[in-house]
Amino acid sequence: MIEHAFSAAPRPAAVPHAARPAVSTIQQWWVLTVRMITPTLRNGELATQVIGSIVFTVGYYLPLKQLMGAVQPLSSYAQYLTPLIVLQAIWFAAVSAAFRSATDSVQGINRRFRAMPIASLTPLASRMTASMYRCCIALAVSVICGHVIGFRFHEGVLYAAGFVGLALLIGAALAFIGDLIGIATENPEATAPLMLVPQLTLGLASVGLQPVENFPDWIQGFVRNQPLSQWVYGLQALAGDSTDAAPEATWSVLAPGLVWAVGCIVVAVVLHARVSRRRR
């Protein structure tokens, strides 16, 4: 073995002699998922997520409680408002997903993964798993915030599970869209406005803050049918109310929201495949 005089020089042992081990897709998926989650614990991303949910609750509930609490049909404004807070929190989580996927694209680590023995869908699967982790945090914190201001599940465990399931499905749809925006723009700075502008405009022009009847006639059609409102209806129905005023958890109430969520996922997956193919 040659001894190099230069101290910083890597020794010949830099090149291992052992044969390559076989790779495992499950292990790769897990390693790539942990890679996304580890930094959230120390760079403030997790804290931001938690604080975000609290800020949405305080920011909507306190100022609007008197103003809009009086014109909504449910037993309390907390019961009416919490679905929107949940949706804003999981949307906020999807902004992080967009930022991370854009960062990966621009830093070239995706290129490196593609030249390694890793199945082409594994990095995406890991990003989605990490997104669902953020989504679960956002959902848990915002439901706890809702509970503090007076939100309750009135329809039993099954419907509460349905509430969680619908919220996670919507979270997955938003995360897919976020991931797509990140991949397509390859620009981390551009992802936040692209995600936040629709979040705020759809949030304000939705039935989450006040019933559709309180909007001017000309915009009522949009307010009622846009996805965020349909998701609010679905979540309000699954949470129920102490009165009979909550929407009934029937297919006609739930289906539009489900179709919006599944539709978003299908469109995002197709566009995702197209963006990836464009780069071949």
Binding site: I2, F6, A8, P10, A13, A14, R20, P21, R111, P117
Partner: protein, 335 residues
């Protein structure tokens, strides 16, 4: 079947991006333990070539085989055999150096314990122990490049692509990477080196190919390429520049017409081919001293690889289409 001593076989690969022909039939081979320098101006097709060999881009036609695996029909086999490291460091900036090494070790199938062991070895070998537990985002350029390459060595590659590995590095880090290339050679790994530094290609490469406008325009050792662009020449500097015309007369048949034609009022020296090396120099010296011309300097020179490169590829302004290829390659590089 592929003969076992060739780690890389490239046979007439072509690739177009829309209207732009990035590669128009590129062929070369790299043996195990050999370093092949890949030179060419920006937009010549170097990055596209590397991307095709790394299975990032599919060729339109032609064949490329890496360590016995075809890039089109067996990309998985290719990916198991190669290490790709680029001028753009591709790591997770949010993770520490050690975490990056662990991640790549685990992605390559190492067990947790082995991956941890290997990470420690590589940190020591690449002189990064002190920085091991800092986020890579805070590393200096040289440290980033070292950890980037270390991440490619968690398991043994058969073929290494070094894409401008020392661009922007300080001399110390550059030296470390040069020594690493020697290690690859000793370990029997084939190395494909693209670089802008011709001195580096000259020093490290066993053979060099020059690509321009999507085709291989020259191939050989650095010496062969130098020979090809004129070989050794003799440079004569008079003490008084006004003696140049008298010198040209005195040299007579030694100075070919083409060299004579390049002389002007502003010339302060004469360059001419020296086909017989020192003998030509002696003859020139003899004739000039007979003509009683006082010299400041007379020497035999070999063209530098830079001159070879300019002679081979230099034809003035690049066509607009080349810049477009560049843009495509840049987009690819980040994909």
């Amino acid at each position: 079947m592929v003969s076992s001593d060739k780690a890389v076989i490239v046979d007439g690969i072509k690739k177009s991006f829309g209207e732009v022909a990035a590669l128009r039939g590129v062929s070369f081979e790299v043996a195990r333990g050999e370093v092949l320098g890949l030179l060419g101006p920006n937009g010549a097709g170097k990055t596209t070539t590397v991307n095709i060999l790394a299975t990032l881009v599919t060729p339109d036609s032609g064949r490329a085989v890496i360590a016995g695996h075809d890039v089109v029909s067996d990309p998985a086999g290719v990916r198991r055999s190669l290490m790709l490291t680029g001028q753009h460091v591709a790591l997770d900036d949010l993770l520490t150096g050690r975490e990056n090494l662990l991640m790549f070790g685990r992605l390559q199938g190492l067990k947790k314990k082995v991956a941890r062991q290997r990470a420690q070895e590589l940190l020591e070998q690449f002189d990064l122990v002190d920085a091991a537990d800092r986020a890579v985002g805070n590393y200096s350029g040289g440290m980033k490049r070292r950890i980037d390459i270390a991440c490619g060595l968690v398991v043994r590659p058969e073929v290494v692509f070094l894409d401008e590995p020392t661009t922007g590095l300080d001399p110390r880090s550059r030296q470390a990477i040069w020594e690493l290339v020697t290690d690859f050679k000793e370990a029997g790994i084939a190395t494909l080196l693209t670089t802008q530094y011709l001195e580096e290609a000259d020093l490290l490469s066993d053979r060099i190919i020059v690509i321009d406008r999507g085709t291989v325009i020259a191939e050989g050792t650095a010496d062969q390429l130098k020979e090809r662009t004129g070989g050794t020449y003799c440079e004569i500097v008079p003490a008084q520049p006004r003696d140049i015309p008298a010198m040209a007369r005195a040299l007579g048949s030694l100075l070919p017409d083409t060299n004579r034609a390049t002389l002007s009022e502003a010339s302060d020296r004469i360059s001419m081919p020296a086909p017989d090396g020192p003998k030509t120099l002696m003859q020139a010296l003899h004739r000039l001293s007979e003509a009683d011309i006082e010299l400041m300097d007379i020497a035999l020179r070999r063209p530098s690889l830079d001159e070879v490169f300019l002679a081979l590829t230099g034809d003035g302004v690049r066509a607009g289409g080349q810049d477009r290829t560049d843009a495509f390659e840049a987009a690819d590089a980040y994909a």
